[in-house]
């Protein structure tokens, strides 16, 4: 509750140093972002303290936190998180790099785009979960299945953003390249790829987010380890504290990854102002 009790930062103008203004604004945004989670935590505490929901169904926050500490201390949590991280890293690396190549090819070549895009769009429409039953028959339920499902989830946003980024290089810049007699390779290296870096980075960001959610989906259905498995297992054993710990970890890790990439993205976009 401390978050919403924080004194409101003074307006930027009142600060002795203008340099402090962004920090103050950041602090305020942080406090605002924590307001709703704090409210939910409050309702949760009240709900379990006054037994509005049976404790077996909704364990009190303190109990869940204790469980989190125990799982952390025993190494169990890190083990599951580590397995999940390796799967996401593998699937994301595979899907994002294939997506980058396919996106570049589709962005550069009208013909490749004409051949590939209709099928690609149709495949992208089938949700990741929908692919699991079919792929299970081909790949079994081992690591290959998880990697392929995650890679597929990561591939789609990467292809879309990369091809759009390459197509989106302004014609006015292409004319500059033409005036200086750039070869195809020079156009690619000096103009198209640098201009497409920000949209490609946006693709990486969405790609990683999609990979992370796909991981949970595939671990829910076919796994004996990992954070998604922890969730299913907690439910099956009716260890709801374990389940909640897994949910919170999944959410926090996903949020942190997106936030870090969003910062990188904002830096890359900065030159776009006035472009």
């Amino acid at each position: 509750m401390t978050a919403i009790d924080l004194p409101r930062p003074a307006p930027a103008r009142a600060l002795p140093f203008r340099l402090l203004a962004p920090a103050a604004a950041g602090l305020r945004d942080f406090a605002i972002a924590l307001a709703l989670p704090a409210l939910i935590l409050l309702l949760w505490s009240l709900g379990s303290a006054y037994q509005m929901v049976p404790q077996q169904i909704l364990p009190p926050p303190a109990y869940v936190f204790e469980n989190f500490r125990d799982m952390l201390a025993s190494g169990e949590l890190l083990q599951h998180a580590g397995i999940s991280a390796v799967r996401v890293a593998g699937g994301f690396a595979l899907g994002a790099s294939l997506g980058l190549l396919l996106g570049i090819a589709m962005g550069l070549s009208e013909a490749i785009d004409d051949y590939v895009r209709p099928l690609f769009t149709a495949i992208a429409q089938v949700p990741t979960l929908g692919w699991i039953p079919l792929l299970m028959l081909f790949l079994g339920i081992g690591e290959a299945l998880k990697i392929v499902i995650i890679a597929k989830a990561a591939l789609v946003p990467m292809v879309l953003n990369t091809s759009a980024g390459i197509r989106g290089v302004p014609a006015s810049y292409m004319e500059v390249a033409e005036v200086f007699g750039f070869s195809r390779w020079q156009k690619l290296r000096r103009l198209i790829l640098p201009a497409a870096v920000p949209p490609i980075f946006t693709g990486i960001r969405y790609s990683l987010t999609k990979a992370w959610t796909a991981l949970v989906a595939v671990e829910l259905l076919a796994s004996a380890e990992g954070l998604g498995y922890l969730l299913v297992w907690g439910r099956q054993m009716f260890w709801l504290d374990t389940m909640i710990v897994a949910m919170v970890i999944i959410g926090v890790v996903g949020f942190a990854m997106d936030k870090i990439l969003a910062l990188g993205e904002a830096r890359l976009q900065s030159w776009r102002i006035d472009a």
């Binding site: 006015s172 004319e175 005036v179 007699g181 000096r190 006035d274």
Partner: protein
């Protein structure tokens, strides 16, 4: 130094607009002698920018012939520099790197390359901004950088497509003076397209007045005033009025059929 002579012979250009032919230029003849400063002025739609882009080699598929130093123009060439209305600097490159883009296909050593970039940044007064990024420049400074980029190959011809059209009046007046200085210093041929009659008269040895629908040359005014010129000079003001009258006469004229025979 590359040649600065341009000969335009019987050039016509038709665009397809919504499936219908639109005559952008009809039988244009113009000789531009080396070292001259030609300004082309006219209402929008008179084909002045199209003509400039043809000289640059960006518009192909036209009838008639455009020669540069006797050679038929078939595409862009490092012998002709082009400045667009917008600076079109690549935002991820520094000012010096943007200027160096012009030398990408020039057969010069790395040492010469650096020297040429530095010289041309000095020429446009941007020496202190070599390492700046385009977003850090004002509109006038960005356009100076674009001029440096167009000149860095030491082309025989500098083509300018309404280069100061987007700038405020003070900056525009200042850059017009700078352009006169650069043109005189480089001994280059300059062709500048504008809709600003004052600018056309101030800068041009000849002012080519174009008429729209179909685009054609209506009249050519020689401007003999000595340089450097002062925009308050009475001869220039008289000439400006004459050009304005010519443009008014074109505006009142009934539009001819735009459909080719």
């Amino acid at each position: 130094m590359a040649s600065g002579q341009i000969d335009i012979r019987g050039v016509s250009k038709t665009f397809q607009v919504d499936g219908r032919p639109l005559v952008a230029l009809e039988r244009v003849d113009l000789d531009i002698s080396a070292g001259a400063f030609i300004t082309i002025v006219g209402a929008s739609g008179c084909g002045k920018s199209t003509l400039l882009r043809m000289i640059a080699g960006l518009e192909r598929n036209h009838r008639g012939e455009i020669r540069h130093g006797g050679q038929v123009i078939a595409g862009p060439s490092l012998e002709r520099g082009l400045v667009f209305q917008e600076p079109r600097l690549f935002p991820w490159l520094t000012v010096a790197q943007n200027v160096a883009l012009g030398l990408e296909n020039a057969k010069v050593s790395g040492e010469t390359r650096r020297r040429l970039v530095a010289e041309h940044l000095a020429l446009v007064g941007l020496t202190g901004f070599a390492q700046a990024y385009p977003r850090q420049l004002s509109g006038g400074m960005a356009q100076r950088a674009a001029i440096a980029r167009a000149l860095v190959n030491r082309p025989g011809i500098l083509l300018l497509d309404e280069p100061f059209g987007a700038l405020d009046a003070m900056t525009r007046a200042h850059l017009q003076g700078e352009l006169q200085r650069i043109w005189a210093h480089e001994g280059i041929t300059a062709v500048l397209v504008t809709h600003d009659v004052d600018e056309a008269v101030l800068l041009g040895d000849q002012v080519v007045v174009m008429a729209p629908r179909p685009g054609r040359i209506a009249e050519i005014f020689p401007i003999d005033a000595p340089r450097p010129r002062d925009r308050k000079d009475e001869d220039l003001i008289r000439l400006r009025n004459a050009v304005l009258e010519a443009l008014d006469a074109i505006k009142d004229e009934a539009p001819r059929s735009a459909v080719p025979h």
